[in-house]
Symmetry: none
Subunit: 262 residues, 2 copies
């Protein structure tokens, strides 16, 4: 385990706790609003809440792993305990939440039921593949083996590019078919917010290649991924909420003719 | 307790945590969707959620047992603490969840109320018997006594074959009576997914007979059962959800004439 300063230890500690609280709060809000959504959009809200719920679980585990990996000494410094800090939790989290994130976006779009299922499946598989390809490289922090890290970075970027393409171009017709201007803007917004926030992950991934000192890397990676997670899970989840609610109102006014279940 | 490497310890640790998160997330989704199902299918959704809920409970126990069975040394290796890793949890879990799994399948099928009860009871008893007969063999890992493991394997395969026969052939009439094509495909799908995922359990069971090194067996068994559990509980549960919802929509449209309670 890298040696870190007391300030660095506290910084990561606070950010992990903040992330846990944010994920938990977003979960409760999304789930408590499900009963007010139209039948068709309930699944989207439940799944948005599941994403932040699963993330809250993993932030609790990451937080506990962080506090077990270090201990305070009598003179106010922090030293490694020998228990390794578990960085697999983030990947376990993403393996579940990233496909669900894409499914929640597809569920609020103007798509026929069968296309919802096929689009959600393809995006789900592509995103799971992206996570699986990224993980082996994440374990490489040693500066003499950064080529391996780059290799997995490139491998994971292939499904990543496919997902970005599908979100921005493949789903453009469905987005443009939204008759309500607010809904169309929100739908475009959620696609762009997802793509932009996702672009921060491959940047955090290459932190070790940017010449950051070995001991500092773990700190920067934790901070970077935590901020990205809050934007892509809570931010996107709350936009899905606004779309669901706007569409539920439109459905009730009878201005849309869509089947009732998804 | 077998001696394992740090990587093996982490692998099982991560997979157990991932399974716990998956079971928990599936439970919440299934239960939150109950209110949208037709009265007749609410029990099936609740029971599908119970299966993953009971599994989540046991995965928490298995996870904790795993972390108590090993400890980190100062030099970054893992050693046994002397507290045995409890593998009875899986059998306790199956004794409850496997009969429930079969009941949730029977509940979404086109069967008269009295036949639902008799089919569910027979399948429930057969599956409980299968678990009870399998357990004594699971305790035998010593390569000199693998004959005993084989004996219980064969004993448990008798009710197993009866269940497979009932699912694929005994219930075929009910499956073919589904008028909705999507529902019929989904019902066949859930029967086959159950049978295929269940076939992985007797394969994992014979891992010790396949010449895998003693120390590695516990790792492979944990990984194998975890993957099988996710498919047979979460995968099947979500298919039951799709059948329930499709049938609920059909019921509301009045295209089906079925009694309202199960």
């Amino acid at each position: 385990m890298a040696s870190i300063t007391a300030t660095q230890f506290n910084l990561v500690y606070d950010v992990l706790s903040f992330s846990l609280a944010t994920m938990g709060a977003t979960t409760i809000f999304l789930w408590m609003r499900v009963s007010s959504a139209a039948e068709r959009y309930k699944s989207a809200l439940i799944i948005s809440g599941l994403v932040t719920f699963i993330a809250a679980y993993h932030y609790l585990r990451i937080f506990n792993s962080w506090t077990e990996a270090f201990e305070w000494t009598k003179d106010g410094t922090v030293q490694a305990t020998g228990i390794p800090f578990n960085d697999a939790y983030r990947y376990m989290d993403w393996l579940l939440t990233v496909p669900l994130l894409l499914i929640e976006i597809v569920l609020v779009m103007n798509l026929p039921d069968d296309e919802i299922f096929s689009k959600a499946s393809k995006l789900g598989v592509a995103s799971a593949l992206m996570i699986i390809l990224g993980y082996p490289g994440e374990l490489v922090l040693d500066e003499n083996h950064l080529g391996t890290r780059w290799f997995y970075w490139f491998a994971a970027m292939i499904p990543f590019v496919y997902i970005v393409y599908t979100l921005l171009i493949g789903l453009a017709d469905a987005t443009n078919s939204e008759t309500d201007l607010t809904v169309r803007k929100l739908t475009k917004g959620v696609q762009w917010l997802t793509v932009i926030s996702w672009c921060t992950y491959p940047i955090v991934y290459v932190f070790p290649m940017l010449g950051i000192a070995r001991d500092d890397i773990v700190v920067y990676i934790q901070l970077g991924y935590s901020v990205s997670d809050i934007i892509s899970k809570c931010g996107v989840g709350l936009m899905i909420y606004r779309i669901s609610m706007a569409k539920s109102v439109a459905l009730r006014r009878g201005s849309e003719q869509t089947p009732l279940l998804a």
